[in-house]
Every structure is written in C-alpha cells, then in structure tokens.
Symmetry: D2
Subunit: 164 residues, 4 copies
C-alpha cells in the first residue's frame, strides 16, 4: 500500500525570510518531517502548489481534484492551509467517492520549533490507513467528516457543526 | 470517548542529568507533548512506572495488566520502552480481549530535539480511535498485531515476522 | 557588576500569531534565553518598547537615550531590530561618552528554532564586559565601532565601511 | 585574525545512540553551531580527541599542550568536558605564556535541544578576541582565571575560589 501526499502549502510549510523579515514559502518540509518521525510507510510526495489557502482559487481546487482523480493510490493525504480547508474538502466530496482523502494542516509552521505539524502528520497518516472511503479533515488528533466541520476563527480549532 | 494513557517510561521520557552526565527518568513529558501537538482528544494520563523496559519484571507486567483491566476506558495507549514492548504486548493479549490497547515508544528521547516521539504519539492516538479490539504495537506510522511483530535489533525498527 | 539590558523589540522577539497567521510582538524572550544559556551574570532587563526597528521614530530614540543616561549601570546591552540599528548607535554616540553600550539583534526570531539570537546574546554580554567605553554593534561574533559599520542589505550581514 | 578551535569532546558533543540507548561521541557539532549562530569570524576547527574529560589522561593533556604551542594562532578556544577543565587549564598555564586560551564546555549536549552550548560558544569566541594573554575558563557568560576557579560539583556551576 502506497499513500499519496499532495502538498498545497499552508502554515505547515511557511518559512521566515531573514532578509525581508517576512513569512514566505520555499520548498515543502514533508520529507524532512517524515524522516524526523522515522516514518516507514510507503509514501509518494508531490507538490501541487505552495500557497496560503486564503489565496486558493477555484482553478487551484480544480487542479487538486484532477490530481486526486488521476492518482492510482486509493489513500491520499493533502496538506492545506486551515482557512479554506473545509471549502476544499466540500469541493472534493462532490466528485470523489472511491478514495480515502484526508486534509490536514498546522497552526504553527514546522520551522518555528513548537509546531503541531509533526503530531498532525502522524495522526493523518494513520487516519488515511484506517478510515473508509470518504473526505475527512484531520486536526488536533481528531478527524471530521467533510460535511460536519468548521474552523472556529476565534480559537483556531476545528469543531463539529452538529454535536452527536 | 476518553482515551486512557498509561506511562511506563522508555526512551520517550529519558532526560539528561546535567550534574552526573547520564540519562535518567524524571517525570513524563506526555502532557507537554499533547499540548505541543494541540491535541483536543479527551485523555487521562497515569504514570504506572518510569523504567527502562530492559528492567521490566513480571511483577511490573502484572501491574500494567491489572491497570488495563481495571480501567473504565475501552481505548488504552501505553508508552513503553522498545526493547521488551513485544513481550508486554503478548502478555496483555493473553488476558485482555475486550479493549483496544496500543503500545508505542520512541527511538530518540522527546527532550533531545529530534525525537520521533511526537509523530508516534499522533499516530498511536489515532490507531487507538480507529482499530477494533485487540493488542497492537504502533511505531514508525505503522501498526502491528501483537502476534506478528518483532524489533529488528540492528536497525532499531519494528517489522512483521510473517509478511502477508 | 550589573549589566543593564534594554529591550526594544526587533527580530529577536518576533512571534507567530497562529490565529492571524502573521508575525507579531508579545513579550520579550530575554529571560528565557538567559536561562537556557545558564547565564550567571547579574542583569536587569527592562522593556522600553516592542517594535520593528523600521518603525522606530526620533521620539523612540530619544526615549532610549534618556534611559541609557539615567541608568546607574556603566554597561548596557540593547536588543534592537537590525534595519536601523546603526542609526540608533550613531544617535547614542553623540550624547553618551562614559558607558559601554552594545546594540545587538538577530536575523531569525528566537522562537523559530534556528535562531542566531542565543549566540549573539552570549557574544554581546561578553563584549559589554570587556570593551572600553563606547557605542558598539555586536553581530555574528564580531563587534563594530558605531562609526565604522553598515548593514549589507543583500546579505543581511554587518560589515565595516573602512577595512583596516 | 584567525581563531583556532581545538575540540576535545565533553558534553558539548555527546549524542544519543538510538540502537544502544546510550550516550556516545561521534563527530563534533562545532561547524553546525557556528553556522546556526551565523558566525562570521575566521576560525580553524581541529578535533584533537572526542572523549569524556573524566577519561582524559596526562598523555592527552600533553597532546593538547603540544597543539597549543604548535599553533600559529595567538587566540585559541578549546571545547572540553567540565569535570576536569580546571585541571587542563592549570596544566596549560605552566607552559604557555604568549597566547590567549579559553576553555569552554556545556552542561547539556548541543543535540539535546535545550543546550547552553550555543550561548557559551558565542561568549567564549568573544572572550578570546578581547582578553589579554593568559589561560581562562569561560562558562555561563563569565570568565575565570585558571588559578581562581573551581567547578561546584553540586550545582554544576563554575565559581571563583577567592571572591574579590
């Protein structure tokens, strides 16, 4: 079993530009993070884009969808900015039925030391192995169905819309 | 749903004694790690012992078993040294049938910066949510059934005995 | 001997706002850094402002000057953004003759893991102990007299204007 | 001006052997640390030995002395375990009069995240630039003359024997 990882950017991969004193995107840190976690799963990493999810367009989402459909793998992990993660999940859910797709992200960039990214990565790679077909968001050790989740903008946490 | 976490020591929690220049055990770092990972799961952490698993006795294993049985929670995570993790898993498997128990550990102490512990913790807390009743070992993003796993002493990695 | 440390902000103390996804200033990390470095010097830390040095006004510089003059301590360290560090050093040099004042900063925020701040802090606290009265900039293990230094905007490094 | 750095091992360079679960010495981290600190000084690093200073013999000390004498550089930094650092300083002081030699170390290994090593390195490279000829120990932001220092074995800190 091989897991496909699509990188789209988001807080996960933000870096600090020391000349300009600003945040920016360079290359993904996924390979480095998997090595740090001593991950022994078979994964294929492919960077689709490196953007803040607030800047993600419909064309970008279509591109993500096309890649999810095209992928031979049945299990797909997408790293994504948290701000529009739910929107992308909904879009994918309309068109993909026969795969397990997990979207995950981070609140603190991996390069900034105290990142939640490594924990989320471990958690998401596990959900993608064990959950049935469907589109899910995985954050904070939890998973959410695409149609019952929202980001609480004040706390920065993901939560169910309808509590069961 | 609440997840019970039993701490038994192992590399996860090793620290550096700066006066003696040696490794030692103090308190567990689990709470700190869950905070770093921004974990939002309901967990109850209980330290049963703080030892190197090479020093774990039959009495210690009996004590772990008793606590697993006594626990109200159906989902249990045990942090454990990797050297005798398989032995403890086998012992628990003989007596516990109606719970999901995951044993996990780390190759590098959490306090030593480049730890695989945070990744394993995220991964294990997910397996415990999604796997059916049984005793499992979770390392390197993978899970293993208690009766089909061994630690490769040369590579330090866990692997299946019988490849399926 | 007590060393006075005046905090003015700069890259040293930048943090990541996880709700807004932006850089911001909160409290100084100097106390934490001195603890990490196991510093045993007597220091008094006082935060004068928490700003990006690009936003530092003449009024701000006057406020720093007044505090340098008023301080009982003969040895003063100022943490400062690198962009206008030279400007502040020149301003102080016109008015303070009887103290050793070191300005220092960082290219990467302390909270972002790979910071040069701890190295610069160790270096600067040593220059302030050993250099004669005067105004200096300390970066990258080197010290510069206020009147023979510039920041190279392309490399981000400080360098002498006239090579001796 | 070039600074010679002689590496002898000590806590600075201890690493964690993940197969054996023990501390060990591999290669020095000095180059990596200088890069992290963005040090722009001209330095030449030479590893003389990689040992715990409790195991340092008279032959080892003689070898360090010979290298200090032979070095063209007038400014020398020696990384050294803290336990017998004072002994080595005394030995060197009997034979070297025309150089500035700083011995430094760490209480926590650099690889273990919360190391005081980077702070000490910044501090020591500054003392070696600014102090007159002599043999000194630099720890915790302070410097000590070779003949007025001891390591307090209970606190792990270096202190003056005679307070001035």
């Amino acid at each position: 079993m091989t897991i496909k990882i699509f990188v789209t950017g988001g807080t996960f991969d933000k870096e600090y530009d020391e000349i300009k004193g600003e945040l920016f995107f360079n290359k993904t840190h996924l390979t480095e993070m998997l090595k740090l976690g001593r991950c022994e799963l078979k994964v294929k990493i492919e960077t689709l884009m490196m953007i803040d999810s607030l800047n993600m367009t419909d064309t970008d989402r279509k591109f993500i969808l096309d890649n999810c459909k095209k992928a031979k793998e049945e299990k797909i992990l997408i790293t994504h900015g948290t701000d529009t993660m739910v929107k992308t999940a909904k879009f994918l859910a309309s068109f993909v039925k026969d795969k397990t797709i997990i979207l995950t992200g981070a609140m603190i960039p991996y390069k900034f030391g105290s990142s939640d990214g490594l924990f989320n990565l471990g958690s998401s790679l596990t959900f993608v192995q064990t959950l049935p077909h469907g589109i899910y968001i995985s954050m904070n050790g939890k998973y959410f169905h695409w149609n019952n989740v929202r980001k609480n903008k004040e706390t920065g946490k993901f939560e169910k819309i309808l509590i069961d």
